[in-house]
């Protein structure tokens, strides 16, 4: 099966992040610094995009990595990769900041404390990535460019602004069903593009 094969193929590449995080749990400051060096440009970029302020983004970046330092032991392999876990924390923190600023309730998903009832044992590691690589970046950029404007807009409103489908529908003044369809189709298109790209590379 493609999914399981891909998981197996990428496990080795996921080891580095996993190792850094495990060493962070053991209070290894060098490992934590390496994790920061690796992920801070991406996390900073996400946060700047979300809060639209470099000052706030700098503040949030420190909060996010302090949370990683303090709560590394909460990471569970069964619920995603280290990358996904870190991005989830960043998004949640930024959404909380946006919520406190504009008093608008936003989506409750992607809780960094992993309240989802994913049973153990679950598939180890994310199926589409183990660690971020230039390859992933290139694939995602090309995938995003392939999306229609409508799909890209709803994905960005959900991902970067934390709005629910209902809120997106209200803001775009389109039916809720339309938002859901655009969201689902956009995400599936991204997934398929990534899958195809990764399959080609390993083919």
């Amino acid at each position: 099966m493609f999914l399981l094969a891909l998981i197996q193929a990428q496990l080795a590449r996921n080891e580095e992040d996993y190792d850094l995080l495990m060493r962070t749990i053991q209070r290894d400051q060098v490992a934590f610094a390496r994790l920061y060096d690796k992920y801070s440009p991406l996390i900073y970029t996400i946060v700047v995009r979300m809060v639209q302020s470099t000052g706030e983004a700098e503040d949030l970046l420190q909060e996010i990595f302090m949370q990683i330092w303090n709560k590394a032991s909460l990471f569970s392999e069964s619920k995603g990769s280290v990358y996904t876990w870190i991005v989830t924390i960043a998004r949640r923190k930024a959404i909380d900041r946006l919520r406190s600023k504009d008093n608008v309730s936003r989506g409750a998903s992607l809780d960094e404390d992993s309240t989802l009832a994913i049973p153990d044992p679950a598939p180890k590691a994310d199926p589409l990535l183990a660690t971020i690589s230039a390859e992933h970046e290139s694939l995602m950029k090309s995938a995003f460019a392939l999306l229609g404007e409508d799909q890209r807009t709803v994905l960005e409103m959900g991902f970067y602004e934390g709005f629910t489908h209902v809120q997106i529908a209200e803001r775009l003044n389109v039916p809720l069903g339309t938002v859901k369809t655009r969201m689902r189709q956009g995400l599936i298109r991204l997934r398929d593009h990534l899958k195809a790209g990764l399959r080609e590379d390993r083919g």
Partner: protein, 267 residues
């Protein structure tokens, strides 16, 4: 999972992955996940992973270098605090300071007690000294009274009254004397207090010759008694008078000062 359920599950997974699920939908997704197959879980994770890669489409900007420095400083401080807390948990050295404080407390109580006891002892010593002094004075007074009583108890006593003279007319006194033993009691009343460089002096006048019988000073009391040992003249017929003069401190061989009191024996 039934077809309808799977459709909703995938829809909820999409919404979750894109970060736009509300709380009610999150609960429903949770219910589906509890009974999801490995394949369904894989699909869910695929969507979540895909969504998490969305930021890779952004052009990256590196954060300022100082953020790293500040963060690592916080991490170092946090690690140090954890280490200290861990050490305290592992081998609790905490009781020691508590014991130290306990000893300090006990020491402080002892110091206060010692000060209090010292103060009490000092006070008691003062009281004892005062009472001892009073006791000595009472014994002296008792001895004196006993000696006076011995004079009074003699078979042969003579009494000579004395009156106040010009410097102090209100004064008066008497001499009770035993001519056999040559002892006497002098009692004086209303004599004024005198300067510290002065003494009263008693004279026995034999014929016209004054003979000193001793010096004395008076307390600030209505009357004073003095015992006189070895009265120079024992034959009453030889005594012309008794007199008291005010003289320089320690007395003089012959009277020089004013006469305050005088009296003659009644023969």
């Amino acid at each position: 999972m039934k077809t309808e359920d799977k459709k909703e599950f995938l829809q909820l997974s999409t919404e979750y992955a894109s970060g736009s699920l509300d709380d009610d939908d999150l609960r429903r997704l949770n219910e589906y996940l509890k009974s999801a197959s490995a394949e369904e879980l894989g699909e869910f994770l695929e969507l979540v992973s895909t969504a998490s890669l969305i930021p890779l489409a952004l052009e990256r900007t590196a954060p300022p270098a100082r953020i790293r420095e500040e963060l690592m400083t916080k991490v170092r401080l946090s690690a140090r605090a954890e280490e200290t807390a861990h050490r305290w948990t592992e081998s609790p050295p905490e009781p020691a300071p508590r014991r130290t404080w306990l000893w300090y407390g006990i020491g402080a109580v002892f110091v206060v007690m010692i000060i209090a006891v010292s103060s009490l002892v000092t006070h008691l010593m003062g009281t004892i000294d005062t009472q001892h002094q009073q006791l000595v004075e009472l014994r002296d007074e008792l001895t004196r009274k006993e000696e006076l009583l011995k004079v009074l108890a003699s078979r042969h006593i003579e009494v000579t009254m004395m009156n106040g003279l010009k410097p102090n007319p209100v004064g008066y006194g008497k001499i009770i004397w035993d001519p056999v033993k040559g002892t006497a009691i002098l009692q004086v009343s209303n004599l004024p207090s005198i300067p510290s460089d002065k003494d009263y002096q008693l004279w026995v006048i034999k014929g016209k010759q004054p003979i000193s019988a001793g010096i004395f000073s008076v307390e600030n009391t209505p009357s004073n008694f003095f015992k006189i040992e070895n009265l120079a003249v024992t034959d009453p017929r030889e005594i012309a008078a008794f007199a008291i003069t005010l003289e320089p401190k320690g007395g003089v061989p012959a009277p020089t000062g004013e006469m305050y009191m005088a009296g003659s024996p009644k023969l």
